[in-house]
Each structure stands twice: as structure tokens, then as C-alpha cells.
């Protein structure tokens, strides 16, 4: 080991790992910036979702909600979380693409940290999720979205949304390396993620689901995350006191705990699986 280190003036292990992570992150960010089509569509899509839900379904959905709760304010937390989760698909797609083009083979033959390809990719995608979320915030504001709580709560909600997206980039990374083709990754992620996102409180209150489905909805991590963001941005308006529709909503403290737990669980579990598949691919 020491002989090798001398020949190549290798930095210390930790410094080398950090450097590898940065090199790959930079590479992926540059790649995104140079794919204008991807950039355009990944920004247009969330905007379309906002407009679609607010103007097409908004009228109907707002009839269910208590008059004190504007539908846009109820809806946006759901869309933020949904977009962050869907945006993570690009992680797996990008990795499958690298795999097909032989780039992963090249990386695996290099003396770089085994974690770097995945860490760098997911970090770059977290940046992209952040940008998309900011963009949606702007559009949401334009269509009348307003915060009901303070700036600190809003910031916490923002960090939470990006974190959920980040956790899902690892789910996506695992799928990308396991399934190996762009089409398979897209199909699989869509099939698995879609029900979780839609069978949650992201778009409608828990009470509107059939009773047999309610236990699933209530314990769905997407519900936990969306509810957390709602409580952080709507405050008292989204609580059992306001309406029976919100009877299931837990206190902010409990929600923060559960959210963090689910986030950490996803992150640890899927980053472990992802790196393991990467080593063996």
C-alpha cells in the first residue's frame, strides 16, 4: 500500500474519498446542464402538476375541505413531496445509462472510492431536486400559495422535502444498478412509487379514502412526510381541531420524529443495498 501511495502521491484515504465524491458530483451536474431537454422537461413537469391540480381538480377538491383551508395551501405540500420523489427517477436512469455505456466498468477499474459513483450521482440529483423545489415554490406563490406559519417552519419543511427526494435517489440508484436498463428502471420505479404517492394524503384527506384502505394511507411514509410539511406550513389549520377530515393528524413533534425515522430508514437501507450492488455489478 505504501509503495503505491508514494508513486501516485495519493492523498489520505478520507481526502481521496471526498475528492472522488466531488469529481463525480461535478461530472453529473455538468452533464445535467448540457442536456437541455432534460433540464426543460424536469422543470416543466412539476409546474404542470401545480397548474393541473390547482385549476383542473382544484374546484372539485376544495368543496371537501373546510372553508378556512385554501385548497392550494393544502395541496402544495403534497405536490412538493411528490415531485421530489418522482425527480429521483433520474438517478436510476442515469446509472443504468452509465452502465450500458460502459462508464461504470471504467469507474470500477479505477482506484476510486467504491461509494463515489453513487454518492456523487445522488448528491448531484439532490441539487437538481432543490432547484426543482425552488422553482415550484415560485410557481406556487404565483397561483396563490401562502404560508401560514413562520419562516423557520418553512425552512424546515423545505429541508424535509429535499431530504425525502435525496432518500429516494438511493432507492432509484439501487433500482438502476439492479435493473440495468433505462426502460426497466423507469417502469419499475413508476409502478412501485406511484401507488405510494397517490394512496397517501398528498392530494386528498385521509377520511375520503375507503375505510379498508385507510390504515395503509395513514402509515404510508408519504403521508407522514406530507403531513409534516402541512403542519409546518398550515399550523393549526391542519389539525383535528379544524375538521374531522384531519382527525388522524398527529402533533408536530410526533410527525417530525416519524419523518426523520422513515427518512433515515430509507437512506440507510437503500444506500447499503446500492453500494453492495455496485461492488458486484
Amino acid at each position: 500500500m505504501s509503495a503505491v501511495a508514494e508513486t501516485f502521491r495519493t492523498p489520505g484515504r478520507l481526502a481521496a474519498t471526498v475528492s472522488d465524491w466531488w469529481v463525480i458530483t461535478k461530472r453529473n451536474i455538468i452533464t445535467y446542464l448540457r442536456k437541455p431537454d432534460l433540464l426543460v422537461f424536469s422543470t416543466i413537469q412539476p409546474v404542470m402538476f401545480v397548474l393541473l391540480f390547482v385549476y383542473v381538480f382544484g374546484g372539485t377538491f376544495s368543496m371537501i375541505l373546510p372553508p378556512s383551508v385554501p385548497y392550494v395551501d393544502f395541496l402544495m405540500p403534497g405536490i412538493f413531496v411528490q415531485t421530489a420523489i418522482f425527480a429521483s427517477t433520474q438517478t436510476g436512469v442515469g446509472l443504468a445509462d452509465d452502465l450500458q455505456k460502459g462508464l461504470i466498468d471504467r469507474f470500477r477499474s479505477l482506484p476510486m472510492a467504491r461509494s463515489a459513483v453513487l454518492a456523487g450521482r445522488t448528491a448531484a440529483d439532490a441539487v437538481s431536486v432543490t432547484v426543482q423545489t425552488v422553482l415550484m415554490l415560485i410557481v406556487a406563490y404565483l397561483v396563490g400559495y401562502r404560508l401560514h406559519e413562520g419562516g423557520l417552519e418553512a425552512l424546515l419543511a423545505f429541508v424535509g422535502i429535499v431530504s425525502v427526494g435525496y432518500a429516494f435517489t438511493w432507492v432509484s440508484a439501487f433500482a438502476g444498478l439492479s435493473l440495468k436498463t433505462v426502460e426497466a428502471v423507469q417502469a419499475a420505479l413508476f409502478t412501485i412509487v406511484f401507488p405510494f404517492v397517490f394512496v397517501s394524503t398528498a392530494f386528498v384527506p385521509l377520511a375520503t379514502f375507503p375505510s379498508w384502505l385507510q390504515p395503509f394511507v395513514e402509515h404510508n411514509p408519504v403521508t407522514i412526510w406530507v403531513d409534516t410539511v402541512r403542519v409546518l406550513t398550515l399550523g393549526e389549520l391542519y389539525s383535528p381541531q379544524t375538521s374531522d377530515l384531519f382527525a388522524h393528524v398527529q402533533s408536530l413533534g410526533t410527525l417530525l420524529w416519524l419523518s426523520t425515522l422513515w427518512f433515515a430508514g430509507f437512506l440507510v437501507f437503500f444506500s447499503f443495498l446500492g453500494v453492495r450492488v455496485y461492488r458486484r455489478t
Binding site: R27, I30, P111
Partner: protein, 339 residues
């Protein structure tokens, strides 16, 4: 420990039911070029993937530059370079960015990585395209960039897996020049190819691999003498009559021969009776009214060697045999029929 740059001992690897390698042995002295020659699915890529730490062997062991490919994989990666079959460059990065990235991943300091990148681009005549994204490169340019990327870390041992597959003739010639230059600098090179002329031109030693085994090894000349004697090479003027011509002349030599119905070429090993057989062949073809475009007696090529060793032509086998990485077999330049 031996001083060979690459030592491979009874390497075996299976994928499910397919035995990709069934005991491969190789030795490559430092500073030499070993050409691994064989058809698709012979086990070339599997061998390279094991030697570059991408796969672990089921049995046997191997060292590269003195490092065990399994136990010292991490150290080994510092001293090797790999250029694979499908030019592994990031097409959204420029040529220079690609090389810098790889350099940084070898932990070469940033300024040095940039300097080496520029140097390599110049050497491979890619300087004009240095700041263009690789997407805009031709196939030959991408290959050269890919090869360049494998050199940024100044490897002691270089692995080139079918470096010219899929390139047009001009791209191949350019690639050969580049590879020949490398060799003069003392890098140890393991090159896989399914092109016999490529191995003939670039390699000091050739290992012929088929069905997961090395079936012959030696210099190009040593292998050629295994065929023995000369080869009668004919080309009929009207390709449509190639089968007739083959019927007339293939029995003349001591053993076999082959015909290529696409080009009208017929090769017959003739041992030491070249002149007599030549006369007889020309007479028979004349009797049948078959005109010849070309006729010669020549020393055997590696084509003939491969045929003699394996019983089938080098480029014939794809399709039936599964390739190790599940890829579709690539385009065939020529199709030969064993008779």
C-alpha cells in the same frame, strides 16, 4: 514471485450454465504485448474483466504487476488502465473534461490531470476537439479518447478489450498506429481481438483462445508454422461460381480449406506440394470454365492457423455461443464456410 507483468493460473469462471473460462493460463513478460485472439464468447472479455478487478474468478488466481487481482484489488487499480469494447467516455463532457475526470479519479492533482489530459489529446490528434463534447466525436475519435483515458494514470499494465471492433478501416489503422506507439514506451499490454491481422501486427505473443481455454500460444511465426507449408489462395472472377470452384479444388490439399462465398476467395493448405497442386487446380477450374481473378501460393496467415487449430474460422462462431457479457455479437466482416 515471478517477474512477469501478468501471471494467470488455471483461471475458471462460470455464468450460470455457461463455462466462460475453463482453466486459462497466461504469462506476459513486462514491456511486451500479448494478443488474445478468439471469436466472440471465447472468454477474452471475461479474462480481461477478471484481470482488471471487475469480476472475481471462481477458480485459479492471477497477478498483475505483482498484485493479486482478488486480494490486492485496490492496490492493483492504481497501476492498470482499461479501455473496453464500447468506448466508455462521458459523451456530455468534452474530451479534456473526460481525461481530467479520470485523472482526478486516479488521484492525480488537478493541475497535473489537466496537463496530462492536454498531452494525451495532442498525442492522439484530438487537440482540435479538446473542448467539444464527446457526443460530437466520430467512432474512431471516441475510441482514441477512451484509450487516452486509460493512460491518464500512467499505468504499468494496459488492457485493451477489442480496441478496433466496429471501427471503419481508417479508424482501425489510426488506432493501430496509436497502440504501436504505446508499446515502444514499455507499457505491458494485453490486447484482445477477433481480428487475426490485428494480433499479427500488434502483438509479440499471441494466445489463441477458444471455448474458455488457451488452445495455442506463441509468436505469430511459431503459430504459422503449425499449419505447415504453404497455402494456395484463389479468387474466382464470378463470385456466383465460388461453390463450384470450391468443389473442384478443396480436395486437392492434404487437409481441408475454406471458401468465402461473398468474396469468391478459396484457401487450400497444400503442404509442400504447392506447385503440383497449383497446376492441377488451375487445370480443373479451366475444365469447368471458371475464370480466376487471382491465384497465388502464400505463407499461411493467422486465419489459416485459427482454422487449423479450432476447426472453425475465427469470425464464424458468433450467434450460437452466448457471449460472456450477454451482448449481441457484433457485425461480421467476413463469413467463411468450413468445408
Amino acid at each position: 514471485m515471478t517477474d512477469a507483468a501478468i501471471v494467470v493460473e488455471s483461471l475458471a469462471k462460470r455464468f450460470g450454465k455457461v463455462e466462460a473460462l475453463r482453466g486459462v493460463d497466461l504469462q506476459v513478460p513486462p514491456g511486451t504485448v500479448l494478443g488474445m485472439l478468439g471469436p466472440n464468447g471465447a472468454g477474452k472479455t471475461t479474462t480481461v474483466r477478471i484481470l482488471t478487478t471487475l469480476l472475481s474468478p471462481d477458480e485459479g488466481h492471477a497477478t498483475v504487476a505483482g498484485y493479486d487481482v482478488v486480494k490486492q484489488a485496490e492496490e492493483l487499480r492504481h497501476v492498470i488502465g482499461l479501455a473496453g469494447q464500447n468506448a466508455a467516455v462521458d459523451e456530455n463532457l468534452t474530451g479534456l473534461e473526460n481525461l481530467e475526470m479520470v485523472g482526478r479519479l486516479y488521484h492525480v492533482p488537478a493541475a497535473e490531470a489537466r496537463r496530462r489530459g492536454g498531452e494525451i489529446l495532442e498525442r492522439f490528434e484530438l487537440s482540435d476537439a479538446a473542448n467539444r463534447v464527446a457526443k460530437t466525436y466520430s467512432g474512431g475519435m471516441r475510441r482514441r479518447l477512451d484509450l487516452g483515458a486509460s493512460l491518464v494514470g500512467h499505468p504499468q499494465v494496459l488492457f485493451l478489450d477489442e480496441p478496433t471492433t466496429g471501427l471503419d478501416p481508417r479508424g482501425r489503422l489510426e488506432m493501430w498506429d496509436v497502440i504501436r506507439d504505446l508499446v515502444t514506451e514499455g507499457v505491458t499490454l494485453l490486447l484482445t481481438t477477433q481480428y487475426l491481422d490485428e494480433a499479427d501486427r500488434l502483438a509479440n505473443n499471441i494466445a489463441v483462445i477458444d471455448g474458455g481455454r488457451v488452445i495455442a500460444e506463441g509468436t505469430s511465426d511459431q503459430l504459422k508454422t503449425r499449419v505447415g507449408g504453404e497455402v494456395l489462395a484463389l479468387r474466382v472472377a464470378d463470385r456466383g461460381r465460388a461453390p463450384d470452384a470450391a468443389g473442384a479444388v478443396l480436395g486437392l490439399g492434404p487437409g481441408g480449406g475454406n471458401v468465402d462465398n461473398n468474396t469468391g476467395e478459396i484457401n487450400v493448405p497444400v503442404g509442400t506440394e504447392g506447385t503440383a497442386i497449383l497446376t492441377e487446380a488451375v487445370r480443373r477450374l479451366d475444365d469447368q470454365g471458371i475464370q480466376l481473378a487471382d491465384v497465388s501460393l502464400r505463407r499461411p496467415t493467422l486465419d489459416d492457423v485459427f482454422l487449423a487449430l479450432t476447426g472453425h474460422a475465427a469470425e464464424e462462431v458468433d450467434g450460437e455461443q452466448p457471449t460472456e457479457d450477454g451482448q449481441r455479437s457484433r457485425r461480421r466482416d467476413r463469413k467463411k464456410e468450413k468445408v
